[in-house]
Amino acid sequence: MADVILQNITKTYNKGETIAVKDVSFSVEKGELFGLIGPDGAGKTSIFRMLTTLLLPDGGNGSVCGFDIVKDYKAIREMVGYMPGRFSLYQDLTVEENLSFFATVFKTTIEENYDLIRDIYIQIEPFKNRRAGKLSGGMKQKLALCCALIHRPIVLFLDEPTTGVDTVSRKEFWEMLKRLKSLGITILVSTPYMDEAMLCERIALIQNGEIMSINTPQKIISEYPKKLYAIKSKNMSHLLQDIRQFDGIESCNSFGENHHISFNDDNELEIQQKLIAFLRAKNHQQIELKPVTPTIEDCFIKLMN
């Protein structure tokens, strides 16, 4: 049985006026690293709070480790680790006091589970007497992860652990997750950074409370319905505007140093030549057009439309 199961879960706020989560179903297998990928307001946090028994769903069923998320909340709270999106440790307690507090609440000790957190904790140990409120963003994130792990949870819920964190710390964080996964911990993690989707085994793309697609990132990419091309020229902002004027373009979005474009009919061979001629006539220089593999962000944009 899957460690996390959601069946047609719905959550509304403001007496039903705001639909935060709409008929969402998915499951996370034992030992899986599953990503919930979507922007702010997609419903990610509501899902996390229902699964960690902090919110009641309006409809549908859910279970964690085989326990019902409504009836069996006490059992679930023993088994899960939760790192909320907003830093929620005690700012006035030191690093070590926070960790020992959470260990005690779960009737265990730091020593008993030290092997699980060691690799992460040694990075913040030099600051163990510093108050949590005085830590840097990266260190807060590591302490919160240690506190979520200290009772050896079966399932770990991480709500946007890398938001607002720089590239280097983000990469380190995902390395830590890989190691926790190798220890058999089931992980449900959310992120608004589409590039992090590739680091998950399976992902759900979520927008406005609804799941748009669930699969492995590779499969989602392979299901992209069009041929995609990367194009660049000397003046990228004008290039974008001009391509959008071209008859036969289906989509055109900026992606870093290129724009990604697709054609209405990609079987028509001359269409690429026509586009290049069209752009040359608009005085674009150094035009480069080449096929490109879609990213998860391309897929997300496609699914949104």
Binding site: P39, D40, S136, G137, G138, G164, D166, V168, N253, M304
Partner: protein, 247 residues
């Protein structure tokens, strides 16, 4: 890029006690330029930006913003810049129109100017039906676009954007950059921070702060060549992983 310098700093420094948050940064930003201000967490970006906005007096060094001195003319600086961040942008309990009027008023615009410009802005954003609704009822993407428009409503010389697109969906993120380009085309200088490295590519030039200093500054293509990198993400990683200090 040549042209009129609108931000000029010379060995600009800020110390808190014995901690040097910003260490002798020297750079120029030109009129109409989109300037990306990047750095690891804790590199000193926020402190530097606060000095450039006239909110924090430097410890040493020089800087002028739109021609005004960061020590003596902070009020003039504030009148000539716009500011928007992801964390705070608009008043949720005011309507769209009230927010626009409020900002216009704060920046000393006349009532008639506010009236004509706000009609124009609402039409441009296609918010006619929402003009009298509370901002909190708008989707996040619309809020961000409105916030940006409000930040440049008083036609500032420079707009400072502090992670304006954090958490925004990929379509809105790109529409947001369309607005940035449009503002730059009008001659507004855009000074922007971001954690999205694809957005670094959209800037004319990038500076990268590491441990309080500017470790690199150039166009994205030159920086990629310099670091033999395929993407700006790799450039950032190369520079920031050597950082000594956290946030």
């Amino acid at each position: 890029m040549d042209g009129k310098v609108v931000i000029a700093t010379d060995k600009l420094t800020k110390r808190f006690g014995d901690f040097t948050a910003v260490n002798e940064i020297t750079f120029n930003v030109f009129e109409g330029e989109i300037f990306g201000f990047l750095g690891a967490n804790g590199a000193g970006k926020t402190t530097a930006m606060r000095m450039l906005c006239g909110l924090s007096i430097p410890t040493s060094g020089k800087a002028t913003i739109a021609g005004f001195d960061v020590y003596k003319q902070t009020e003039k600086i504030k009148r000539n810049i716009g500011y928007m961040s992801q964390k705070f942008s608009l008043y949720e309990d005011l309507t769209v129109l009230e927010n626009i009027r409020f900002y216009g008023g704060i920046y000393g615009m006349t009532n008639s100017k506010i009236k004509s410009k706000s009609d124009e802005l609402i039409a441009k954003l296609g918010l006619e039906k929402e003009a009298k609704k509370l901002v909190k009822s708008l989707p996040l993407g619309w809020k961000q676009k409105l916030a940006f428009s409000v930040a440049i409503f008083h036609e500032p010389k420079i707009v400072f954007l502090d992670e304006p697109t954090g958490g925004v969906d990929p379509v809105t993120r790109r529409q947001f950059w369309d607005l940035i380009y449009a503002a730059a085309d009008q001659g507004i200088t855009v000074f922007v921070t971001t954690h999205y490295m694809d957005e670094a590519e959209y800037c004319n030039r990038i500076s990268m702060m590491v441990d309080g200093s500017i470790a690199a500054l150039d166009t994205p293509s030159v920086l990629k060549k310099q670091f033999a990198a395929q993407t700006m993400d790799e450039v950032f990683y190369e520079l920031a992983r050597g950082a000594k200090r956290g946030e």
